[in-house]
Amino acid sequence: MTGISSENERGLNRREFILRTCKAGIAAAAAGSLGYLLHDGLGPGPPSEAGDAQVSLPDFSIPGFEGKLSIVNGMDRVKSVHLALKSLGGIEAFVKKGDRVLIKVNAAFATPPILSATSNPELLGEVVRLCLAAGAASVVVTDNPINDPGSCFALTGIGDAARSAGAQLVFPRDGFFRATTVAGGTLIRDWPLLYTPFENVNKVIGMAPVKDHHRSGASMIMKNWYGLLGGRRNIFHQNIHDVIMELAVMVKPTLVILDGVTTMMTNGPTGGSLSDLKQTGTLIVSTDQVAADAFGASLLGRSIRDLPFILKAESMGLGTSDFESLHPIRTSVG
């Protein structure tokens, strides 16, 4: 016979019954009170595009590493990015053990990788692996495509490349946007910014292909930050050069990687035909996003005067259009 059975057989007296009832009541009240204390009455709230409080992105650049520029000639993106980073001191100079890295790709369109309208998946995968090998605690890959994000990340190959290399792919969602205002800006004011993926991140890498662009003349590193905006951002197309300049004010990255291995020379930013592309065989890695774009302009056969956003960004002290003044390190892969 078990202990419980024998106790039941003995029965309870009134005193013990009241005592046990009180204990149970106190325990229930304590549990309820604790639950009440821990309960978030407001909850996460309804999905909100811009949130209530204004946010701004911190400066992700590394002091003392300003004005670094490496230009590698070659068609092999993996070898090129290794060589470019090596020439700047290695990925370890930018990503330390325990760092939490965000890579902003260009996943704007649900198009196949061969059209080069989006970031190259092979290059992305290699950069993710390099960051993790350098000891990064996490690598987040994100963008807010204008097309359906699921289709964009899948069809461009960016999703598979990010995941298989060990990165976390973050799709934009309503609750991820918070209102931001660019200091001194006239366009990006109280505007939804894809902010949540940047929380807990301390390094940011911008990665974009070199493309022709119908409105701005070119889409490269600075234009690529456009994908961090939410809302009806197409209204900014009327002031495209100013908004690109403000985007460069908004994001101060650790490093930028401009992919000019294949350049979309015409019909950008969507392209559509392989005949829009030219094998320009150049990869640019820099800590100066203005210099990177200024060099990228040359791959498109344009001068910086054809692309006013470059000079506007330079005038804001965000970098230099005179990339030669940075004494770029030029190398090539076989």
């Binding site: 198009t111 204008i146 559509g272 035909s273």
Partner: protein, 331 residues
């Protein structure tokens, strides 16, 4: 009477309490790290990316499929207010050219998930608008598609005008030309009653030296002059020298002449200098600007000229040829 539980009961009790505490701590921890992406069904980025309702009777493009292909995605339909959601900065090109709607959809080759195409059918309202966006994006050195005068293909895509539609069929890889052409031909067959609009301006360009595939129609803001719209532009090669001619049909001879004068003033305003010439063309104007020569004149309802030619003699030669052709056609 001693009613204390046994040691086993006490241990079990503490274990249950400990488990409850762990659950409470877990709930508390997870609550503080709420991931809206996991628990909320929402539209990405705060936008309804596609029209909430596809118009009743909308062409779902499926009927243009060749054998061996099937739908890969749902039909998407875009209007003037959200075209940029699909094609971003290129939307301005279409919007300034009379864009009405875009129907697009992806299709995949059965048994080959990497082999897919996306068909874009732009309704441009009028045939000349369709030609405008077609010509503005026409690639150099392409192969005629054999589907009429305004159709070409590249190694991975097909582009053509049919009636008021501009159509692009883009493949995910090379080697799908048969499928692309089959889709294009089915589209043309289905829209059979609709013919390509006759663009009479194309006949106004003199043939000698003309790069036949180079003619484009610019709908607005031509040469940076906001009053100049609906202008055909053609490239010539004269004795190896590149020259650009333009033609714009206006509503009256008076408007054509007034616009020619306004265009000259526009050039002078931006630093151009009038150049005297002796060409036998009534009312002809020549402006030297930035070391190039621009010629403009009117002939009946047509405003025409030569734009930014590096060589004065070549500019005059083509202007004279252009005037002669307009005279010939008007007789």
């Amino acid at each position: 009477m001693n009613h204390r539980g046994s040691r086993t009961q006490t241990l079990v009790g503490f274990a249950v309490l400990g488990l409850l505490c762990a659950v409470a701590a877990g709930v508390f921890y997870k609550q503080s790290r709420y991931d809206v992406s996991v628990f909320t069904v929402s539209h990405p980025a705060g936008e309804v990316r596609f029209p909430a309702a596809i118009p009743a009777g909308a062409d779902n493009l499926e009927s243009y499929l060749p054998d061996g292909m099937k739908p890969m995605s749902a039909l998407e339909v875009f209007g003037r207010d959200n075209l940029s959601d699909k094609i971003d900065g290129k939307a301005e090109l279409y919007l300034s050219s009379g864009f009405v709607s875009l129907h697009c959809r992806r299709f995949v080759k059965t048994g080959s998930p990497d082999s897919w195409v996306e068909m874009f059918v732009y309704d441009m309202g009028e045939g000349r608008n369709a030609f405008s966006v077609y010509s503005a994006q026409k690639r150099a050195g392409v192969e005629e598609a054999g589907m009429g005068s305004h159709a070409y293909r590249t190694s991975n895509a097909l582009f053509f005008v049919h009636g008021r539609h501009y159509v692009e069929v883009v493949a995910s890889k090379e080697g799908m030309s048969d499928e692309l052409l089959a889709m294009g031909r089915k589209f043309v067959a289905a829209q059979g009653a609709e013919k390509n609009e006759e663009l009479r301006e194309l006949e106004l360009f003199p043939r000698q030296g003309l790069d036949e595939g180079s003619v484009t129609l610019r709908s607005s803001d031509v040469f940076g002059f906001d009053r100049l719209d609906q202008t055909f532009i053609a490239r010539y090669v004269l004795d190896g020298f590149p020259v650009t001619a333009f033609i714009s049909r206006r509503s009256s001879a008076g408007e054509a002449e007034e616009l020619a004068a306004a265009f000259e003033r526009f050039l002078l305003e931006f630093g151009g200098v009038s150049v005297e010439g002796d060409l036998p063309v009534p009312g002809i104007r020549m402006v030297e600007i930035l070391d190039t020569y621009t010629v403009v004149f009117s002939h009946g309802r047509v405003m025409a000229g030569v734009h930014e030619c590096d060589d004065r003699r070549k500019a005059e030669e083509l202007a004279l040829s252009l005037y002669g052709r307009l005279e010939e056609v008007s007789r």
